[in-house]
Symmetry: D2
Subunit: 342 residues, 4 copies
């Protein structure tokens, strides 16, 4: 921790800060500049709260030095993490992982058609919502366990892994029976009891970025899972809330290179929720691959106009097929590849 005193700080004020630091059992180094006195604090940050010091009289700024997310940090883990999902799919390696499927599981036919087309296009993971978080209590809430079964069966028929959302601690066990990758939704990114429980789930976690989460907070949420002993966390950018209303969220694609710089965890992008309108999804999916994402998650539907949930952001199969062909070439320009069609 580094403390920058105000230019007008009195000696008594500075001494009070020094005492506060020593009381916490920490060592302080003082350096008097032309204008400002700087105090450097050595020792365990947990023993002294940044905020407590920052409101002391005579203090202008307090700058934390140590990273608040050691386990998630690239600084302390130079090797990139590769997460195995299901039997075959590796996320974070040379292959870009494509996750595709409908927003919500609606019927045997819908999910079978989606799985078949996804696999044939080179996707590796089937997505589909069974338990759905909805802003309105009057909206379709998902198909539950029946949906999970349909999802698993369709995936198995086509050699795909399964990703789906876990909304509560109670559902972790049930969902784990059917899914290979447990998704934490954006609204739960700071549901700390859920994160802690997922640290013991024995399955990899897909951690979506909260709608208003900074990249640092996102990595601190990953840290919750890692701390509990689960090393397999994949991050998922899905758009942040800004003043712009032309798209549902603002997809922050720059989070891709930033996460690559700060962390060893893989990061994928969900352009469907990011923009919320199928007109713009393919464009942003291509951009995600070009930006260096380790995967994309795309909503597809055999008949988007009839979808019960988030149909407007689902791609029709034909457009998804075209998108995959384009991404296949884009991936090669940065030394990566998409999965082969099955």
């Amino acid at each position: 921790m580094i403390i920058i005193c105000e230019a007008k700080a009195t000696e008594a004020q500075i001494n009070a800060v020094e005492s506060k630091i020593r009381e916490a059992g920490l060592v302080v180094h003082r350096s008097d500049g032309a204008e400002h006195t700087i105090l450097g604090v050595v020792g365990d940050r947990i023993r002294l709260d940044v905020g407590t010091v920052s409101v002391m009289p005579g203090v202008r700024d307090v700058v934390p030095v140590s990273t608040p997310y050691k386990l998630a940090s690239h600084e302390f883990h130079p090797e990139n993490t590769i997460v195995r999902v299901g039997e075959e799919c590796l996320v974070g390696g040379m292959e870009i992982a494509v996750m595709a499927g409908p927003c919500a599981v609606e019927s045997e036919e819908q999910i079978e058609a989606s799985a078949e087309f996804a696999a044939a296009s080179g996707a590796r993971i089937l997505r589909g919502g069974a338990f759905k978080p909805r802003s309105s209590p009057y909206a379709f809430q998902g198909s539950g366990i029946e949906g999970l079964k349909m999802l698993r069966n369709a995936a198995d028929r086509h050699g795909l892994a399964v990703v789906t959302e876990v909304m509560t601690i109670e559902l972790i066990e049930t969902v784990s029976e059917y899914a290979d990758l447990l998704q934490v939704g954006a609204r739960n990114m700071q549901n700390f009891p859920l994160l802690t429980a997922l640290g013991h789930a024995g399955k990899p976690i897909l951690l979506k970025r909260g709608m208003s989460a900074t990249i640092q907070e996102w990595l601190m949420s990953a840290e919750y899972i890692l701390t509990e002993g689960n090393p397999d966390v994949i991050l998922c950018e899905r758009g942040i809330r800004t003043f712009e209303t032309a798209t549902r969220n603002t997809l922050d694609l720059s989070s891709v290179p930033v996460i690559k710089h700060l962390s060893h965890l893989p990061i994928i992008v969900d352009p469907s929720h990011g923009v919320g309108n199928r007109r713009f999804v393919s464009s942003m999916a291509r951009a995600a691959v070009a930006a260096g994402a380790d995967g994309i998650m795309v909503e597809i539907h055999p008949n988007p106009d009839k979808a019960l949930s988030d149909g407007p952001q689902s791609l029709a199969f034909e457009e998804f097929g075209l998108l995959m062909n384009r991404c296949r070439i884009i991936a090669t320009t940065i030394g990566r590849r998409l999965g082969k069609a099955k």
Copy 2:
């Protein structure tokens, strides 16, 4: 629902939209303007998704007509709701409800001193965190049930009601034994399973605004609780996330008159979390009362510099006393009053 077609929409495109509406069992009225065709849809909005129509070719905009939060809406409930908390405190009436206490319950002495001073200053409800959500897994996580007991005992000794946070469904029953008002934290504002469960809690709910929640989403979350049969929801503004970093959040005081216009539910303001720095808390607490809030929630601590959690935003007793005296006068200018000292 009103559909505005593009100026260049073809007759075939407009017909397709009309068919879509009729397929959903709804009635459509068409009006051809000089530039744009407008389609008015009459009937139950649930049967046709706004998004589905909005991505159809030839459609420029879709405007929902019906309010997405009927139970929370002033339009359908002209009378303001007054929520009883504990035996004596009414929130939403003429008296402005003051909730005060430490961020986290730390010790018998700390909470007793806080309760005594709060009651003596005219506060009606004692606040204190027992189970704490923390962004970092390495931070102090709260005192749990022991904290709840201390909180209840201190409140009882001074004739105060108790408000504290409920973080998970499993904790509702336990917390309800000790608290009169169950707080939903900002990070849980869209934790829908929790909201649904709280609809059956049999206690009033304090629903904090999510860090990036629009006022409409906030009211839709209240609707979740109301729909389940619990009419006693108090809203709490606690700051939203913006680009400004000089304060922890940006306290959106304009939400007070906006909520008063849109809803019949009471609204209080939490300036402590809004600004995150005790230097600015009193100023914003006074502003909240002047703006017309039905209450304020203020963190106080017998020794803020020693607080284990969020000490930097806690007021010392003396400053809180001065604040109460000022708010007492401000309240009278808009025909309201603060509680009498005990």
Copy 3:
């Protein structure tokens, strides 16, 4: 400047940074912590760019130490600045300055009625737009010099000072003939050539906060004016852009105590532009006074429903009168007062 090196920074990387600093003619102090090496730089910040260092290999963070706005800073100017506007009005002292008038000057009758009522209610400064910035090229663009003349004459008849916006450098001279306080609109807060020219205008400046300006950037814009030799800058909070759409902007009232902490310049609040809807203006004007603002600027109109520009946010006289009575009492709670009625 303080440089925090990455935990994994090599000795060669740290040496390169040290050389870079010395090349700029600055002195560097190195401190090796358990995890991180910290480099303290002493000397003139202008000679070494923060950004240049921050992208060097092995560097994690660079923290500037010196304030980027020395002249505007409280640190270096402990005394609060009081700005004289016109003959009689002092902004920043004990009296809270009220500026009132229509959004745009429309007619002799309209501005005369506004001036008369404003003066009778205790306002000290007459506001009114003559040259208007409008987002749409198709909107009413203002009454120009004729408007300025009407404004001046009406103000003189009622002993008021005049504030109005200056949109371009060319207009400074003309507007200065008629106005006592020159307003820089939110869209021009970073129009640096205009700011520089206003530093020589010989009149006090009302600097509105840009729609997406941080408080630091706002103070740096004030610094542009101060640097050129004009010490009379009044800041004006008028709302920032956030994701919330229920109000036109989000009025950031916490900027009032923050500015009081960081700067010696007076700050006023414009609730009319902040919320953009007359239903919410009085509430936020009261809150501004309670928060400690040195003044408020309120749009009033003899017949708001007929206003040519921003009518929806203008208060009718009766409501304004009621507001002034309330603010008069609120001001006393913090040891201040409103102007007496003329």
Copy 4:
């Protein structure tokens, strides 16, 4: 304009709104739904302000129907606009236009080296700042006319066009002598007098998006230029301000497909200012091309560590060359191409 009345609106309130509309000389169609009365207004929107109606008692929402930017709109101009810059470069056609060069013109050698490498890599337009807007009055303000001359000469030697910023009306003529494309900076996007003047400049305009401008406001600013008779406007996405601080701005790449949907004007992307850190620039430049941008503007510098202005975001030549090779392939996946090397 469509007016949605409140469910509880009285007949008298609705009649008052109808009268207001008729007074403005407009025709009103009334439709009484089960819950809400809807009023459709036919005629010239300019005659009746949306805001004025929206605050009338009994009115819940007012929805504008006509587009506020007719000339910039795709709805009324189905053909995409192709803008000629200089002799040879077309922006908005099949070829993706690359603009490259230093942030600020610093010396003959620097700009010559940049122009040579840019041309050799396939760029078509040389960028370089001569008059610079700077947030701090103490920062380097640019090289002025000398810089313009160096820029023009270097461009001519290598067959490039020139783009540079125009900060004030007075500079338009001077800058036009040397530049082929006049840039409006983000801070000037709503400097309406400047936009109006540029409508008569006789040169194409590069209109950067304001830091907090919605896409609609951006197009309305383009409309200012188009209305005055200058049809050659190129839009430039350069990042918006959000709560995220890991990057300088949040580059909103989804604006690319959104603008393509709403407007016929070309859109390019400036990733250098968008992220503000060279580590992340190449990634976002590739993403911009993949997203479908009509061009990119990239800062390059022969020696980025020595740059006087914005060096931290400038690419070294080698990295820029690699980027161009990658973008060349990405472009082909969407049927486009980059310029050939000279």
